[in-house]
Symmetry: C2
Subunit: 216 residues, 2 copies
DNA sequence: CACGGTATCACGTAAATACGTGAGATTGTA
DNA sequence: TACAATCTCACGTATTTACGTGATACCGTG
């Protein structure tokens, strides 16, 4: 760790064995000191409320009994806005990676990671990175791609896509007609075709579907 | 590398020095063989068209002269759908990370990565991961969070959010009124307030803004 | 208590939308 | 060549929307 300043860490993990193990690993370094190790979000929150320090880094289990790690993130963010939260996960687990990202997690630590990699991960966090192993990263990328890839094309023609885009941008039929040099009637017709293909019966629904499914 | 099967790789990188260096690194391993090293997307595409093999992995510079690495991705995906594409980037560079993700990149390799990490990265790709360093990962997470976090709340009241939600779902004022037991006039009034707060003048614009900025 | 914010409701009108129905022109394809 | 798809335009009408301009009522705060 190039920076020789101290980093404070807290651990939130219900499994006592893993909590102790983690604690031992962290205490190996002179540059880290663990301010607390809790077995539940609730306990960690109580402690943060009682004291007035904020840890630099929090290692928090994702699957906690009671308040889950994910539910806990917003609370932690409120009590300690600058604390970077690393989620502890088993394997390369599941969907709630998405939830955790949305809530503002700063990294992922798989539980069977060897000690030296854990230390390296802490260092990366300190450097402003968001460490995660390649499998977690894969899941994140897949999520991303799913969000931006059109679910279905609905066989919209070029003209229809063009007009749909203008509709989404909030233009009226008359305005659209002027913009692309058509009769308002023609625009009307195109929009009807769009409605048919998208199976909707109103502008709002078409706009919603277009944006949500990344049409055009 | 636990799997002892051969992996085929191609390199697309305009800087000759780095291309050669990379080639040397890869050739160290008996489990890899490099099917080609090109200085442009165009050259790589020509080669893929001419031959009928598909490499397992493609290492492609993001900032290529002519067709950029990002523009190249869709072509490559077409010619070699199963090839996993790793983007080569300088530093932890910029915004087009987003573009690359959308296009379907499977990982990021920063150019000053030491040889052993490059080999490890290849192994991770082979295991189905999407390797990237912590800084790149941070950018991805930040992007993600920006996508799902409301830009601004616009001070919508609870009632207004409720009605906005129904509007987004494509309901008419009359229907909304029936659903939440109000006079259509009241719904109309609420919607006017929503328009004022969102600074729009049409249902479509309100819907678009609501969805895009994750209101409600 | 007065005031601001919220929620409720009403009347009226001009504009926009949704949709039925029909039709000519072009273009690619079977 | 015939057919399907696309793009273009038109008339008419019922419904919906957008907005001006009111009003009453509740509630919390200064």
């Amino acid at each position: 760790m190039e920076k020789r300043r101290h980093l404070s860490v807290i651990i939130v993990e219900d499994n006592m064995f893993f909590r102790k193990t983690l604690l031992n690993v962290l205490e190996q370094s002179q540059h880290l000191h663990c301010l607390g190790a809790y077995e539940s979000c609730e306990a960690a929150i109580r402690s943060l409320k009682r004291n007035d320090w904020q840890p630099d880094i929090m290692l928090m289990d994702i699957g906690l009994p009671g308040m889950s790690g994910i539910e806990g993130i917003p609370h932690m963010k409120k009590l300690a806005p600058d604390t970077r939260i690393v989620m502890l996960t088993i394997h390369e687990d599941h969907d709630n990676i998405f939830q955790a990202i949305c809530a503002g997690a700063s990294g992922y630590l798989v539980k069977d990671t060897p000690p030296d990699e854990i230390m390296e991960l802490i260092a990366q966090i300190d450097r402003g990175g968001a460490p995660m192993n390649a499998h977690i990263a894969k899941k994140v990328l897949d999520l991303f791609q799913k969000m931006v890839t059109p679910t279905e094309s609905y066989n919209l023609t070029q003209r229809e896509k063009e007009i749909l885009k203008l509709v989404v941008d909030g233009h009226s039929n008359r305005t659209i007609a002027e913009m692309i040099f058509l009769s308002p009637h023609t625009v009307d017709t195109h929009i009807r075709h769009i409605y048919n293909k998208l199976e909707v019966h109103s502008r709002s629904s078409a706009v919603a579907k277009a944006i949500r499914e990344n049409l055009f």
